[in-house]
């Protein structure tokens, strides 16, 4: 149900001239992809710097809140451009990406990273006054920072995997993978085959 709806949306996007032009344009597509990777460097690099402070591994002589406050604006600037270029990349290859198991895991990890960031921010706001200048923040904060790094490494990793075609819908693979990737056509034919056997 959701898969059909998503595929219809992707097919609609795919039918637009801009989407086709972008995918077929060697230079435009490469510029957008390079922008995505370079802003990833800015965003993730600064995120790592903040999280390493929260783990007590970097900038230990500086108050944690100061590192977070000062590095967050440039980090968010990188984030915004990264998200925009990411949406453009999706727009240029919508159908295949929608039915990519890697892309789906990536979106789940992104949502998880967002929730973790909000929880972390609240936990930090509430308690930071008592440990701001400690070189080693409390365990709760360290866990939050560790989870943040783990989730973002997962996002980068699954994002990189989208380019590989190991689990594309047209491939021969276990039924479970068709379900995970949401391959509408393949799932339908599995269902018909099952009905015929009965």
């Amino acid at each position: 149900m959701v898969n059909e709806w998503l595929l219809r949306l992707a097919t609609w996007l795919d039918g637009q001239q801009w989407s086709t032009d972008l995918h077929e344009s060697y230079y435009m597509y490469n510029w957008v992809e390079s922008t995505h990777v370079l802003t990833l460097m800015v965003f993730l690099g600064l995120l790592l710097a903040i999280d390493l402070r929260m783990l007590g591994l970097a900038f230990t002589g500086t108050p944690a809140s100061q590192i977070a406050d000062r590095l967050t604006p440039p980090m968010l600037a990188g984030f915004v451009v990264m998200v925009i270029s990411g949406l453009v990349l999706f727009y240029s290859i919508p159908v295949r990406t929608t039915q990519s198991v890697w892309f789906r895991i990536k979106v789940v990890l992104l949502v998880a990273a967002g929730i973790n960031a909000l929880l972390f921010r609240n936990a930090m706001k509430r308690s930071v006054d008592s440990w701001d200048t400690d070189s080693l923040p409390p365990a709760r904060i360290r866990w939050g920072a560790g989870i943040s790094i783990g989730l973002w490494v997962g996002v980068v990793s699954t994002g990189r995997m989208i380019a590989y075609d190991w689990f594309d819908c047209h491939k021969e693979m276990p039924d479970f993978m068709y379900w995970a990737a949401g391959c509408v056509v393949e799932l339908a034919s599995i269902e018909t085959a099952g009905a015929m056997e009965e």
Binding site: N30, V153, R160
Partner: protein, 158 residues
């Protein structure tokens, strides 16, 4: 100078046998490479924006340099190891790729600039230095590392 033999050797090495055989491992090494690049880029950015007085201005320069130098060194090691692994899978192709050579030139330049020029110069802080020298060094460092990342991305396109 003829360097092809290095690439031919790498292409037939045990490492190349492994990197060509396991696509999944290759993709994971690519992730390590990307995350290391982000770590390197982030720390370079913090370091050079501090020198340009645009970031962390209330933190003394030597303190920022100490931390960033440590993490930049770690990132350089992981970026090199994961880079050599990836190169071994496509060694001959890389030898004929102009973006690859632009990237290697930039990488060598970046290493020399960091270890021979930037860090020795800043060893005693910035107070005794001409502010314009410090700004130029920061901009040069940002230029080099941005170029290395950008030409690196372009290897896959050309």
């Amino acid at each position: 100078m003829e360097l092809l033999f290095i690439f031919e050797w790498l292409d037939t090495s045990t490492l190349a046998g492994i990197s060509k055989a396991y696509g999944g491992v290759f993709a994971m090494v690519q992730t390590v490479h990307l995350v290391s690049i982000a770590l390197l880029g982030g720390m370079v950015l913090v370091s050079d924006l501090r020198l340009l007085n645009l970031l962390l201005t209330s933190v003394p320069v030597p303190q920022v340099m100490d931390t960033t130098r440590k993490w930049i060194t770690i990132a350089l090691i992981t970026v090199t190891l994961s880079g050599v692994y990836q190169a071994s899978a496509v060694a001959i192709k890389l030898y004929h790729n102009s973006s690859f050579w632009a990237k290697m030139a930039g990488f060598a330049m970046g290493l020399l600039f960091l270890y021979v020029v930037k860090w020795p110069l800043l060893r005693h802080g910035v107070d005794s230095l001409n502010p314009w020298t410090v700004r130029l060094v920061a901009v040069a460092s940002l230029t080099i590392w941005f170029s290395v990342a950008a030409t690196g991305r372009w290897i896959g396109f050309s």
